[in-house]
Amino acid sequence: MALASGISRNFDTAKSKSQLQVVWEQFRKHQLAVFGGLVLALLYVGAIFAPFISPYSLSEYSTTDITKFQQPTRVYVIDPETGQFNLPFVYKSTRFTNPDTFEEGYKEDRSTKYPVKLFHNRPESPFQLFGFIPMTVHLFGVDAPGNIFILGTDGFGRDTFTRIWYGAQISLTIGIFSVALSTILGLFLGGLAGFFGGWIDNIIMRFVEILSAIPDLFLLLSLSALIPRNIDPVVSFYGIIFVLGIIGWGGLARVIRSQISALREVDFVQAATALGASEMRIIGKHMLPVTFSLLIVNLSLSIPGAILTESGLSFLGYGIREPYSSWGLMISVAQEGGFASIQYRPWVLIPGFFIVLAVLCWNFLGDGLRDAVDPRKRQ
């Protein structure tokens, strides 16, 4: 009897659920996907509030107080001298040269404590939140001349933590924008080829074939080399989006084309044609909605790929340029000064783990979505 009631209950609820509700319910059962979505939400919020979260400005470094490759600042909760509990504070690190080995290093100056302040006002690094609210208050910071570099500094002495969040603004959005561009291209050109067939189909598909015949890394680097080296870095940002976008549309165009050309023969499309619907109406109202779930899945599974590609391009010096920050660009510092140098400044590798985290979470999210829209995988 339990079985019978189970069936009838399912039957009752199945009637009242929309497609979207079913997908959402399935998605919520995929724990890794929910986890991925939450972490991504945190990362994106962090990117939006980057200037507020970070204690310094994007490319701020002092020319008098050299902080080049300074190790992460230790935040003390227990006073190392008295052993007593204290509110969080830091010591200022000063640069010294070892008289015997001539190696440069940093030593903590234990004479003054600099308490870590929440909502610290720092007029030297003003910013505009969301691009229009002028502010000088940062989430945390210490009074001058103390420094707080919780993830160390780079070769100029700029704060890694700050540049990671500013870099997130670029690394995380470039994936979305470029995939959006390639989706629009793939949808439009694949749709044209599938709907009209004939010579339009021939030309578009031959072009896809030619593009896919050229090795990816080769095409990517040659196209990125088109962006002049001395151009405004903002223009090069859009250039990279464009390059990634025009490389990625071929695969989607193929899938869309085959789906659209199959749909042309389906009854409801034939019915629409018989009723005298215009071509645009048939494509927009009857065909594209069918490809919607495919698009969403494609979108979320292509974004991690685009994030990886951008990081690689920036790493090689063909992507995002200074003074802007991106996670790939930040890691390229690790190669400065030969292999052995990584040993003395391992913190320059930290931005890489943000790439891993972002790609991992996008993959979780994408797989969860793919399983949720696939009726064969429903539980």
Partner: protein, 327 residues
């Protein structure tokens, strides 16, 4: 069979011309050219520049240049590298060999490791082992290859430092004392240097290939003919290895077509990070100094190899899949 090959070749000619023309145009369209640096150099007279321009045909329109290049390419002449003033093949030939060492080795190991992992994941679906493997693969898929290579280098330096010996070299292809070694010693020395870049290349590709293979196997393990095979009392071993595996492996055989160009185009970022004297660094240098014939030739050879590789894959597919026949 022969008509099929001929038809394939005829169909591929427009793709080849289109792709090389596109690469040629893209590379030519980059701002400035090779001579820019020379023009700024006060030691080079305008007459010299004009002579070089004439010599390499740089003063002609792009399409004429492309025609000249294509004619030379078909006759086996890849042109001359402006930067080092030697024929392109002399420049890239040795590098191709270096890249091949890495790519051959890692591809062989890739299939050797990834296919068993994939079979295990499919046969023991949702077991603890399967879940662990898929979580670990997810994790490795998140690593950009250059970042993973840098982490490996960091680990190797720490290891060498802790043990106070050189357990692994941190880069390059040969040691400083390479020339003093015996022939066998030389081979072993190079192999020793391949270990770290090989691991960097492998982990990511094992992660993606084994996941793909697992999905393929599952697709077939759930089909009717497998149930029939089990129902008629075949041993599980025969069901998995003879019925499911032989079907699941076909897309991977098709992928072998991509191997040939992959061997040629090198190991990418890993070569750059590990300072491996392969093809990728040469390509990047040539791109930077706009030594165009080096770049275009690398692209064109890769394309030819892609075409040949795809044809080879077709034959292999015909061999492993009796349903495929070519007419």
């Amino acid at each position: 069979m022969l008509p099929y090959i001929l038809r394939r070749f005829v169909n591929l000619i427009p793709v080849f011309i289109g792709a090389t023309l596109l690469t040629f145009l893209i590379i030519q369209a980059a701002p400035g050219d090779f001579l820019d640096a020379k023009r700024l150099d006060p030691r080079t007279t305008p007459a010299t520049i004009a002579r070089i321009e004439r010599q390499f045909g740089l003063d002609k329109p792009v399409f004429v240049q492309y025609g000249l290049w294509l004619k030379n390419f078909v006759t086996g002449n890849l042109g001359i590298s402006f930067e080092s003033n030697v024929p392109v093949w002399d420049l890239i030939g040795p590098k191709v060999f270096n890249s091949m060492i890495l790519v051959f080795g890692s591809t062989f190991l890739l299939y050797f490791i990834a296919i068993p992992i994939g079979i295990y994941g499919a046969v023991r679906q949702y077991s603890l082992g399967d879940k662990t493997i898929s979580l670990v693969s997810y994790f490795f898929l998140g690593f950009p290859s250059f970042f993973f290579a840098l982490i490996l280098i960091f680990g190797i330096i720490q290891l060498n430092w802790a043990l106070n010996t050189k357990v692994f070299p941190v880069g390059g292809m040969t040691s400083e004392y390479y020339d003093t070694l015996s022939p066998i010693g030389k081979v072993l020395n190079v192999l020793w240097h391949t270990l770290a870049p090989m691991i960097a290349l492998l982990l990511r590709s094992i992660a993606s290939e084994s996941r793909g293979f697992r999905a393929q196997m599952l697709e077939f393990l759930n089909q009717d003919f497998v149930r029939t095979a089990r129902a008629k009392g075949l041993s599980e071993r025969v069901v998995i290895y003879k019925h499911a595996l032989r079907n699941a492996i076909t897309p991977f055989v098709a992928n072998i077509g991509g191997l040939l160009p992959a061997i040629f185009s090198g190991a990418g970022f890993v070569e750059v990070v590990f300072n491996w004297p392969g093809l990728t660094p040469v390509f990047l240098e040539a791109l930077f100094s706009q030594d165009i014939y080096v770049n275009v030739s690398i692209g064109a050879i890769t394309l030819v190899l892609l075409v040949i590789g795809n044809l080879m894959a077709d034959f292999l597919l015909g061999a492993v899949d009796p349903r495929i026949r070519y007419y």
